[in-house]
Symmetry: C2
Subunit: 293 residues, 2 copies
Amino acid sequence: MLMDPHLLTTFVTVARHGSFSAAAAELGYTQSAISQQIAALEADLGLALLRRRPVEPTPAGRRLLEHAGPLLLRLRAARADVLRTAAEPSHLLRVAATPLAVNPVVAARLAAARAAQPRLEVRLRTCRAERLAALVAEGRAELGLAGGIAAPSDPLRLPESGPMSTAGVSEEDLVVVLEPGHPLAGRARLRLADLIDARWLDTPLCPLTRLRDLVGDGFPVGLEYEGDDVHTVLTLAAAGHGLTLLPASAVPAGGGPVCAVPVAAPRLVHRVELLHAALPPGPATALAAALAG
Amino acid sequence: MLMDPHLLTTFVTVARHGSFSAAAAELGYTQSAISQQIAALEADLGLALLRRRPVEPTPAGRRLLEHAGPLLLRLRAARADVLRTAAEPSHLLRVAATPLAVNPVVAARLAAARAAQPRLEVRLRTCRAERLAALVAEGRAELGLAGGIAAPSDPLRLPESGPMSTAGVSEEDLVVVLEPGHPLAGRARLRLADLIDARWLDTPLCPLTRLRDLVGDGFPVGLEYEGDDVHTVLTLAAAGHGLTLLPASAVPAGGGPVCAVPVAAPRLVHRVELLHAALPPGPATALAAALAG
DNA sequence: CACCGACGATAAGCGATGCTGATGGACCCG
DNA sequence: CGGGTCCATCAGCATCGCTTATCGTCGGTG
């Protein structure tokens, strides 16, 4: 018997909520149905996936959760891809981007492309990096612009979601954002290794886990910010809640309320990548080429 | 509505057979059920996937076929992986290998590992490269040994099938296998570029598509051999049906019935990789480490 | 040219599946 | 100790998906 994706979605929903009833509400079933679905899945596999009261995954359940997400994403991606082959080409191009991905380079290229193709309608939206690949894979956006911190010319690590092309778009130097009164605020350049014990903001724009991956352990959390608003991050940094790393172009000229100091070592950049599934020939392909430069 | 894997398997079976009735026979359904399943899938997606009489995929259907295989494999792989977390560790280790993967280096390491772990039972089977990843992913073998032609220290291109580790095991120089009377048989070394217009055997042990990928177009087919028996390939080469490339150790010392000439350029090797899913700690892990060297 | 056989589509019938709503038992909190 | 919350279970019932039977169509053949 094959694992039914239906049951799999139910399982991940239950695990996410830590509750059968809440999952039932979200999925539009009764609690009884959820209970039966989980029971069916456990019976099929012959082992317990969830411990009840409190509801939390067993080791096997945790394993299944790791598989279920990508699996369901691929399923939706496959569906979207097949439907795309039949869709008539549209003049509307939906572009999804992480907040920092729309930098001056990208904006300029986009403007040039639109000037060259006046009939092209572009709809831009921002979203978190985690959701971007899914958005593009599922066909809810034709183009994705992912921004992230990486070593120069290293690709970003995006969640895999089937056959999807990626191309580098731009790389921009990073600056450390400091409060004006900070002892290091006057420096011309800074080494990250010297800041490993300073307090840092943990934000989606510059996640500390990524920094630790790239540079090494350390980077204690000063304040965690869950939003993606650059202005808020700058304000928090200005108030001394912690340091953060941003692409130079994201900090107002002169620094505004903060001090921006280039990073000397290690060499890190804010890299932007373009991702898209198979595009219909026409304006979409042209725009993709224009953005990739 | 999510695409049901059940329907997807039916679809790929029908496409493979080019027949509803044959698929019904294979899957143990009636022809009517198959017809309804395909109709359901087409209704769900809102487009035709198969043209009837003769039965062959439409463009959208071909697209779906490309997705369906990997998708179903991942589904089975996920199931196998979850079940593995609950299985008690066994002393039986199933190893699947492509024919040339079990070379002297691998055999020796295997012998050493077994000497170190007398309680370890090993069952070895050979299979084609295409099936190997699936076999390991689905848990029908704990370890896989894939052999193939690659540039030195380049990884083999194996079908992706979810979270699976791969490690290089060995690389061995290749020889061109020629019939004894061949004009080039006396040479000390040969350049592949000089053999691009010669007749070649097309065999799973040395697929011409791979050679064309690595070296360039050309390599006309002298004879296609569908089996993986090395002895047969040598016999065919000796009879002048075409050239082929084999790892040096696969040709009997002195050449036997054929002439073996090392390849001077481009540098290509027969590379063996070990692949395995998450292994239980114990003999399996030890053997994997021993094989990886 | 007409027939026959193979194949896929369709209709009707029916059993299995999977939902809802009701109820029961375990646990938590006051 | 009682009420509330949460998941499991049961009975009832609608729906889904299979089988059997039949039809339409295409293609090969006498």
